[in-house]
Structures are given as structure tokens and as C-alpha cells.
Symmetry: C2
Subunit: 193 residues, 2 copies
DNA sequence: GTCTATAATAGGATAGAC
DNA sequence: GTCTATCCTATTATAGAC
């Protein structure tokens, strides 16, 4: 009865990376097994529901990580501008400047997307709600704050696609830079260079 | 020796739709066969290289369609504003208001993405070049035109992801509406409501 | 140019030992 | 909790008739 090699969190981190790199269909059990160092049967011990179960638990894992390391700290006394800056720093790091894909995008595009609909919708909503809260704190109206929050997520996700498609990662850097300057700008005022 | 049921273009249209709906890995030969009404062996007659060959030919097919129906007409004497409007009309129709995915995104995210790299990069570049040309014609500087062109593609692709993830298609409509108003706006001037 | 039939393999999943 | 061994099905792909 060997002891666990990796903690559950470490296993989930490895699975997260594999799903991001290969996509849901693209990540075979053989690859998920190699990434974790666990043979298939061991994976089924952790994830009785198979690959769907893995994806669901990986989403929940990422939700917890984001709540602890990103959304939590955002409830501090920092200025809205500093909070936005911190979020965009985290986004640049997490996506490695546009080189790593978004788990939620990968699962949204999967054939099993119907199974993941609720947690996916929730994940996008939590993200947008956090940005909206910063915008409101900065004095923007509710309507403008919501649109700005949606726009941040739209542009981050879009930049990831364009970078993956073109191989030109400057698009991601430029998009983040533009968001830093524009998201909290007063409404009906100048926004673009 | 039965005659062909569908023209090659019709077959390519059906395959295009299947790849958009199911993704590259998600689209099995069984589904591609059902979508075209051709049994697997017949598909191999048209596409000796199998699924990769199908994806490559579908990309080339879409390139031709876009050149004929979108980029071609854009070389007319219409005003830049009308050209942009026509492109955004076509985008709204092609993506069915955010309900249908982008082929290029699907293939960029596939496990075989390395095989499709060149045509994918080309497809994104041709799209952005067309937008850039409209921006230049409207009097924007080269640098601003390029950034605006990248931004259009980023926001369209991102809106598709957010719509798929949240099920809220108003994001796509709002994004297109915002692009209609902002892409050709004079630089360093007001841009956002 | 389309078909039926089949091969060959990879995929997800399970049983049961230790 | 991890392993070896196996099962079953789906998947890609090919052969060859008409």
C-alpha cells in the first residue's frame, strides 16, 4: 500500500496544466497519467467519474486558488487602481504572457461542454463580478462597470486566441497594457491613444 | 459508380460546420460522415490525408469564401465607415450572434495545431490586414490602424468565448455594437461611452 | 465516386492483487 | 492508494467490389 506520491492539490495542478495545454478532448488518460505520475487506475481512485470528474474537480480547484490568491486579496483596502493592477499582473503571470491557454475556454469548447455549463458560467461570472466591483469602487456607474468588466474578460480571452493563432505574443502584452490604462477611466471621456 | 451527391464545396461547407460545432478532436469521422452523407471511405476519396487533410481543405475553402464574399467587396469605392459596417454585418451573421464558434480558434486550440500553424497565421493576418486597410483609408496612422485591427479580432474572438462560457449572447451583440462606433474614431480622442 | 467490410489502434474504464 | 492486467468500444484508416 504505497503512500500517495503527490498531494491531491499537486495532482490537480498537473491535471490543470494538461487540460490547458491539450484541451479536454486532446488530453487522453495516457497523458493525464503521465503528467501526474499515476497510472490510470490510480486516477480513477481520485476521480471515480473519469475524465469528466477530473475536469470538474480541476475547475473547483482553480476556483479555490483564485479565491485564495486573487479575489480574496482584492477585498483589501488598496485603491481600485492598485487592485486592477494586481489582477492584471496575476493574469499576465497565469497566462504566461499569452503562451498558456485558459482552462475555462478549453472546457467551454469541449464536446462535453453541457456537463460543465454551470461551473463554467459561475467561473466567468465570479471573474467579471470582481472586476465590476473594482470599477464601482472607482466611481463608475453600475451599467458602465458591468460593460467594462465584460470587456476585460472578452479582451483577455480574445488575446489568448489571437496569440495562439498567430504566434505573435505582443498582442497579449499590448492588450493588458491597454486594459491597465483604460478600464478605470472616467466614462464618456477619452479612452484610446 | 454513383455520381457525387454533393459538390465538393457543399461537402466542405458541411465539414466546416461540423468542425466549428464540435472542434477538431471532437469531430469524429463518424460525425463528419453523417454531416456530409458520405461514408468514411468516400471521405477518404476526397481527403486522402484523413482528418488533417479535411481541416486543411476546409481552411482553404473558407479563405476562398472570405476572399470572394468579404475581402473582395471591401476593395470597392464605399466609404471606410460603410466597409467596416459591412464587415461587422458579415461577422454577426457568420457567427450567428455569438452562437457559432470560429474555425480558426478551434484549429488553433487543437492538438494538431502545429500542422495548421501556417494557414492559421495567414488567416488571422489576412483578416487583420483587411481591417487595417479600412482604418488607414479612414485616415488613421499606420500604428493606430494596426492596433485597432488587432483589437477587432481580439474582441470578436473573446466575445465568442465569453458567450460560449456564460450562455449570455448579449456580450457579442454589445461588442459588435461598440466596435461599430469605435474602430474608426479619430485617435487620441473619445472612444467609450 | 460511392459503397460494404474489416483491420489496427487508441481511448476510456474496470477488476482485483497487494 | 497504487499497481498489473484486461475489457470494451470508438476511432482512424484501408482494401477491394461495383
Amino acid at each position: 500500500m504505497p503512500a500517495p506520491i503527490l498531494s491531491k492539490d499537486e495532482v490537480l495542478d498537473r491535471l490543470l496544466n494538461t487540460f490547458r495545454d491539450r484541451g479536454y478532448e486532446g488530453a487522453s488518460l495516457a497523458e493525464l497519467s503521465a503528467a501526474t505520475g499515476l497510472v490510470k487506475s490510480s486516477l480513477y481512485h481520485y476521480f471515480p467519474g473519469g475524465k469528466q470528474d477530473m475536469a470538474e474537480q480541476v475547475m473547483a480547484h482553480l476556483d479555490r486558488q483564485l479565491a485564495a490568491n486573487l479575489y480574496g486579496p482584492l477585498r483589501s483596502a488598496l485603491s481600485p487602481a492598485k487592485k486592477l493592477g494586481a489582477m492584471l499582473d496575476a493574469i499576465e503571470a497565469f497566462y504566461e504572457g499569452g503562451r498558456k491557454a485558459c482552462l475555462f475556454e478549453r472546457l467551454s469548447a469541449s464536446v462535453d461542454r453541457a456537463h460543465f455549463r454551470r461551473p463554467l458560467r459561475r467561473a466567468f461570472m465570479v471573474w467579471m463580478d470582481a472586476i465590476e466591483a473594482i470599477c464601482l469602487e472607482a466611481g463608475l456607474s453600475k451599467a458602465v462597470a458591468r460593460v467594462r468588466a465584460e470587456d476585460v474578460v472578452v479582451r483577455v480571452e480574445g488575446a489568448l486566441i489571437v496569440c495562439a493563432g498567430t504566434g505573435d505574443y505582443s498582442v497579449f502584452a499590448r492588450t493588458i497594457k491597454d486594459l491597465r490604462a483604460s478600464v478605470l477611466a472616467p466614462s464618456r471621456a477619452a479612452h484610446r491613444a
